[in-house]
């Protein structure tokens, strides 16, 4: 066992794919930060709201106000530093921390692909991605190497395979496959997409997209891993992600996935890309001349394979935590996040909070727009943990206003995947009596339908 482990962790492969990945990842992240900034979202999502929804256990993280811009600047600078491979180790750690900090500021903006970036940048901390075609490698002879341990590149492939495979498994449910939901709601609303607009109105197209999407996610990892099908798989990757780019507001994600899947191609391919870089930037051709060690000798990586192994194991297990909860996953969303469940639900909700005086019996309703942005209100009204956190915020707010003996109740309705809206949270429950935990939330009302599947 020890022997196999050693063989595996010491097996060497060309460093070119890792170097290309680092460069493209860095520039993609820089572009993402610039795009986010240019859209004015730092202001509207992180500075304007008076209240932010925090992740469980992270409510101590301070909001930064105008310094949020500085955080984004640091994150962008780190991304650039990663791309050019300057002080890579520090840059990737700073990037991971600053990017994750941004995501932790407000879970309203949670997206699977932001989580993917956090995972990927965490992984990259432990990989010697700066040993080739980087400023670090130019400056420091001891970290230069043409080869790296094979597990480093394989760990990136493994993460990508998990993302696709789990996204595919999550689609194996009756709403997706038998009702073509939520695509049956989303696609017709894209009536103005050139060429496709009219097709998107037809029901068979909704089914074709649903089944096609499920098959794509389930099989693309294998098609990418298997050499004879790799090229055709990449064509599928490009088509699939461009289609999602045209149809859905998912920003940079399609490009990030397209770029990331290049890692499956062999070293020759990546060396050609590097030659291409050299052709543009003549100075880079020095990498073809300076002497390179055949083996990456960096000593501080001993612990890395263990950390990465543990990380991949957690990734494999985490999405299945929903099995520990009773009730319908889509309805309660207990164990829903961080599981690559992408585009599975169309959920709309309405939550009217009632503040009651338990002594006098008087009550009044809360105007959500006094406290939340429309985007926060939309996210809050369909997710129980948001509702609870907001109720506590309201409780604190109205207590500080001098209200006494208060209880906070909510009358809420949610419509899921085209079903008629139905009551969501038990209106009898005083939400101030409840603390958020990882235990089952029994104050969520029963879902009056069944969704079969994984």
């Amino acid at each position: 066992m020890k022997v196999t482990y050693n063989t595996y962790t010491t097996k060497q492969t060309k460093a070119a794919p890792l170097a290309v990945f680092r460069v493209l990842f860095g520039f993609m992240m820089l572009a993402s930060i610039i795009r986010f900034w240019a859209n004015g979202w730092i202001q509207t999502l992180y500075i304007e709201p008076t209240f932010a929804f925090s992740y469980y256990g992270f409510d101590w993280l301070p909001l930064l106000g105008n310094y949020t811009y500085l955080l984004f600047f640091i994150c962008g600078l780190a991304a650039f530093s990663i791309a050019i491979g300057y002080q890579y180790r520090i840059a990737i750690i700073v990037f991971f921390l600053s990017f994750t900090y941004i995501e932790l500021l407000d879970k309203t903006t949670y997206l699977n692909h932001y989580y993917f970036i956090s995972c990927l940048s965490f992984l990259l901390i432990f990989l010697p991605a700066n040993c080739y075609y980087s400023i670090d490698a130019l400056r420091l002879k001891k970290i230069r190497a043409k080869n790296v341990s094979a597990w480093t590149i394989n760990s990136i492939k493994a993460l990508l395979c998990i993302v696709y495979l789990y996204a595919g498994l999550a689609k194996l449910n009756s709403d997706w496959l038998l009702e073509a939901m939520p695509l049956q709601i989303w696609l017709p609303s894209k009536y103005d997409v050139p060429l496709l607009g009219n097709m998107l109105q037809k029901q068979w197209v909704h089914y074709a997209f649903s089944w096609g999407g499920a098959f794509y996610d389930l099989f693309i990892p294998f098609l990418l891993l298997y050499k004879p099908t790799r090229s055709i798989a990449f064509v599928l990757v490009v088509i699939f992600h461009l289609l999602t780019r045209v149809l859905f507001p998912i920003g940079m994600f399609p490009y990030i996935m397209i770029i990331s899947t290049l890692i499956f191609f062999n070293a020759h391919f990546h060396e050609r890309i590097l030659l291409f870089f050299s052709a543009i930037l003549k100075r880079l051709s020095i990498f073809n001349r300076v002497s390179f060690l055949e083996v990456n000798r960096a000593t501080n990586y001993k612990i890395a394979p263990y950390v990465v192994g543990l990380f991949i194991t957690v990734q494999l297990l985490l999405p299945f935590r929903y099995l520990m909860y009773p009730g319908e996953l889509f309805w309660t969303e207990e164990g829903y996040r961080f599981s690559w469940r992408v585009m599975l639900m169309e959920k709309a909700g309405y939550a009217q909070f009632i503040v009651k005086n338990t002594k006098t019996g008087t009550q009044f309703a809360v105007n959500n727009s006094d406290f939340l942005t429309s985007f926060q209100e939309k996210q809050m009204s369909t997710q129980p943990d948001f509702i609870l956190e907001y109720a506590h915020y309201l409780g604190t707010h109205f207590k500080s206003q001098g209200h006494k003996n208060i209880a906070v109740h909510v009358e809420s309705y949610v419509a899921l995947n085209g079903r008629l809206s139905q009551p969501f949270i038990n209106p009898e429950v005083n939400l101030l009596d409840i603390e958020d935990t990882f235990k089952h939330k029994d104050w969520i009302l029963e879902f009056n339908d069944t969704i079969q599947g994984i």
Partner: protein, 373 residues
Amino acid sequence: MKKNFIYVLSCFLLIVVACGEDDSSEQAPSDNFDRGALLVNWADNIIMPGYDNLAITLTTLEVATQGFIDAPTSVSLEEVRSSWLASYLAFQRVSMFELGRAETLNYRNRLNVYPTNTSEIEGYISSNSWNLELPSTIDSQGFPAIDYLLYGLGTDQELLDKYTIGANASSYKMYLLDLVTTMQTLTNEVSSDWANGFRQTYVANTSSSASGAVDQTVNVFLYYYEKALRAGKVGIPAGVFSGTPLPQNVESLHNEFVSKQLLLEALSATVSFFNGEGFSSDFPGNGFGLNTYLDTLNSVKDGSDLSVLINNQFVVAFDKIDLLDDSFVSQISNDNLKMLGAYDELQRNVILMKVDMLQALSIDVDYIDADGD
């Protein structure tokens, strides 16, 4: 390998090309619901005739006000009062369309913030100086301010005295006239903006994004229904948001006996808009409305169409409102439970429209990256 590389490069080119394309003008109708026709119906048969009609009633109001100022008598007073009510009712049919110029002007609030600030109004009048363009005067103008000046100054005789022998008589007259002409100016501005170009931009903006005209109109419509109609006209005065009833917050406080009439007009305007019914027999409408849009999308819920569910709920709300006193002040003081009952039925349609209808139409709230999870 080289082939491979070229082909990956060409994939990237494809990406770049795909990024570059945006709304191209290619539009073919066929079995797509015709949003252009929907927008035409809203603009030509509902919104623009509504503003035109309001402008006409405001002209009548202006003439009557002029007559009243020239000779304040109980006869001329009744004339201003009745033309005020006529234009207030006409306003209820356009109040929801906070689009284009109306949005930039903050039109609804300029015409109808209530309760009106009577002490501020008295202050302006006694100092004989005011500027209705200032945002701070928003609660001292529009229909509620006129309501105060026509009904809130004591008995009819006391009121007439203020305009004739009172110390600030001329100031009262000027303020009243300024209120009326300001509403006229604002309405004409909105109306002529629609006539001169905005209508064309509007009906052509069939984009499916959050900035598309259908999305925007539905969003302002729902905002109006939830905040201005359900909360403003019923919920707030009934004390839903304060714990204690606030009868002083009813629409038309000083002539309290028309508060129910104003609500009924607003609700019937809401129902007409939902069903795409034209403004009058001169503008019969082309049959395109949110109801037919929902029917096309075939949003069957609970065994019946969503559009039917929503219309049925409107009927229930009407029935509850019919039980109310003409004056909401006395209704709230005497039997607020009935007022709350009407609120509850209006509220049910907030859920059906904001949750179920928005989901069926797949309308976005904002432009933000979101992948539905």
